[in-house]
């Protein structure tokens, strides 16, 4: 084992971390979060209802 072989461990570690993110992506797809691509972009543009004090 030379000093360069540390790269094998770092490669495996980074792959594992990336794998966690992949799992999260697949989970969110299966959860249906990407089904509606119209509503979320429009939803963020709505204003909050202003409190009207006129009665």
């Amino acid at each position: 084992m030379t000093f360069m072989s540390i790269i094998i461990i770092t490669a495996i570690a980074s792959l594992l971390i990336a794998g966690v993110f992949l799992a999260a992506l697949i989970w969110s797809i299966r959860d249906g979060q990407y089904d509606d691509d119209f509503a979320p972009p429009n939803r963020i543009l709505f204003d909050d209802p202003k409190k009207t004090n006129n009665k």
Binding site: T2, A11, G19, F38, A39, L45, F46, P49
Partner: protein, 763 residues
Amino acid sequence: MYEILNENDLCTYYELNQHPGSQQLQQKRKNKFAYLDKEEVVSQLIAFADDQQVHVTFSVPQMHCSSCLWLLEHLGSLQKGILTARVNFVQKEVFVVYDKNQTTLREVVETMSAIGYEPYLSMSAGKRRKPKNYSRITQISIAGFCFANIMMLSLPEYFSVSNYLQEKTGTAFRYIGLVLALPVFFYCSREFFANAYSSIKTKYLNIDTSIALAILLTFVRSLYNLFVLDGNTYFDSMSGIVFFMLVGRWAQDRTQQSLVFDRDYKSFFPIAVNVKRNESVEAALIGDLKEKDIIEVYDQEIIPADAVLAKGKAVIDYSFVTGESIPRQIEPGSLIYAGGKQLGERIELMVLKKSDQGYLTNLWNKEGRSNTDNRKLLHRISNYFTLIVFALTFASALFWLIKGEYNTMWNALTTTLIVACPCALLLASTFTNGNVMRILSRSGLYLKNADIITNMARIKHIVLDKTGTITLNKNFNVSYKGKPLTDYEKRLVASLSRHSTHPLSKAIYGHLKMKQLVAVDSFSNLPGKGIEGWIDDHHIKTGSREFVQPASANENPSNTSRVFIWIDGIVPGVFELENVYRPGLTTMLQSIRKKFNLSILSGDNNAEYDRLANMTGPGTDIFFNQSPEDKYNYVTQLQTSGTEVLMAGDGLNDAGALRKSDVGIAVMEGNNSFTPASDGIISAAAFTSLDEMLTFSRNAARVITISFVVSVLYNIIGLYFALQGLLAPVIAAILMPASTISIVLITFLMSEWYGRRLKRLKR
């Protein structure tokens, strides 16, 4: 609250303003949702309930804009007790959570209806949650992940400088590569292996067979290299192949979906109905119908949308929808489903649900025969193609094996299998036809399905109906000859004519301008002859001379259409209506004569012969006094003499002939009836472009041929390099979806170019 109402007005402006006098309907609807108070009903519709919360998902097909989205998600401000409302716009659904102690399901639904978003409640709606299929997108994600990472780990193999990195880390990285390749091979490529297996079983080889073989070979070769030879591995190529193939498939599916979507929601279905707006009647396309619109439906017309019977006697024939040919009598206030055909008098209906022209198109396609010959041919071609590719591959592999160059052999083997792509053969016709349909419908011709285009390209003989097809349906000059009619008699004739959609009846009705009409006790329409009915104990008939007074003396021919009147046994006189031909007809007939054989059939007398002969020139058959059977027989006779016939008619009295001809086109002017017997509907304003459209369909066939040629060229060039082993597998894997995309682009651009001469219809 004011702002909410403001938004409210913006979106429901048109719906609220149309019916200021509809208090009565409001009253009826107050109790419309009374059934939602019942516990059994509620439990069937909701998704979840406990002591406090109730979850329910409503289908709201009316939502179409971001204002709708805003309004529906702020339901909580409109109805106390609604805790959450979340919209899934693509599915047109809203998920509502309400507090059962503060409000009820009925109140929620009533609130939604009041703002114009009445939910489409169906008892089975709650249970129809079918799980969506995410497997392909999951496979793409995993394949992409593994492909990219394996490639990264293969960098030492590509870039090693004097093998330094390779020695140190090479083997370890190769094994990691193997681990990453396993999910790609066993999970992501499932579809290719499954399709290849079934294609071998049915002995119809297809493109998946080659791809599966390529994947298998690359994987096996890499394993062999890794364990036995300790040499280079090609897991990156293998996962690249899988990834790019899956992406290409996904892109294909999306394009096909968007073509279908286009057809259903955006394309022009040129059927219009009369809608009563305030006191006047306007024609509206059925795609523009809204809930609560009052529409008129006449005898023999198809109901365009789910609606409630408001006025008139409805006898509905659902044979178009269910195949059941016994017509049903419908009570006022009951629901009539889209697709049913009214038999009898004119009725008024209130639209319940926005019409779904995709639904009507599906029913239309159920009617006729479908053309599967093209598809069988494509399957056979793809079969032979794959066999040839296999032969070439193994031949070249043998060649390199004998020469002793193993590396080149493996390269040649795998890349040949990938590069050879019969995609264009399968895709070219689908994409081209989709484009052609789109271009034709924006120019005014709406086809039942894509197979009609190939039939159109083969047409040799055109048969045109006269009345309503080459003559205008409006602008009749009406004059009356005979004993003058009393007001009462005029009223009887007008009341009867009102129920008929025949252009001559409509012209008479318009001419008489009677305000007070009498209700008709019975009405029947005899195509090709006339209409008859009983009003106030009087028996009335209007129509041709033979119909009204059989065995009468020969009449003098005149250059007008004649409608004879018969009341209780006496013929007081005859309405004469002058024919007005469509503008641009002469030029169109001349240009048709240049490329096709032309015939004109008419149910009228032969007085128009000279005028028509002048317009068409010599060599055209013009026949008069044709009954519907005569027209049918004429078409049959032409077909038996071996020529393909296109018939254009108005669908009222030539349904049989339309169905028999190779392509039957119904001409729609304004709000005529929808004829399921036809293969296509052309808008009257676009009728004079018919010959250009036929030329366009011939060009479409040319586009398909050209894209075949391009695809063959691509294959030849690709194989030239692949067989020599000069192509790296990854490059081959990228080239394949690239070729698909380029074929799509070529067909799109070419069909647009050929269609540039077709004028877009102003709607």
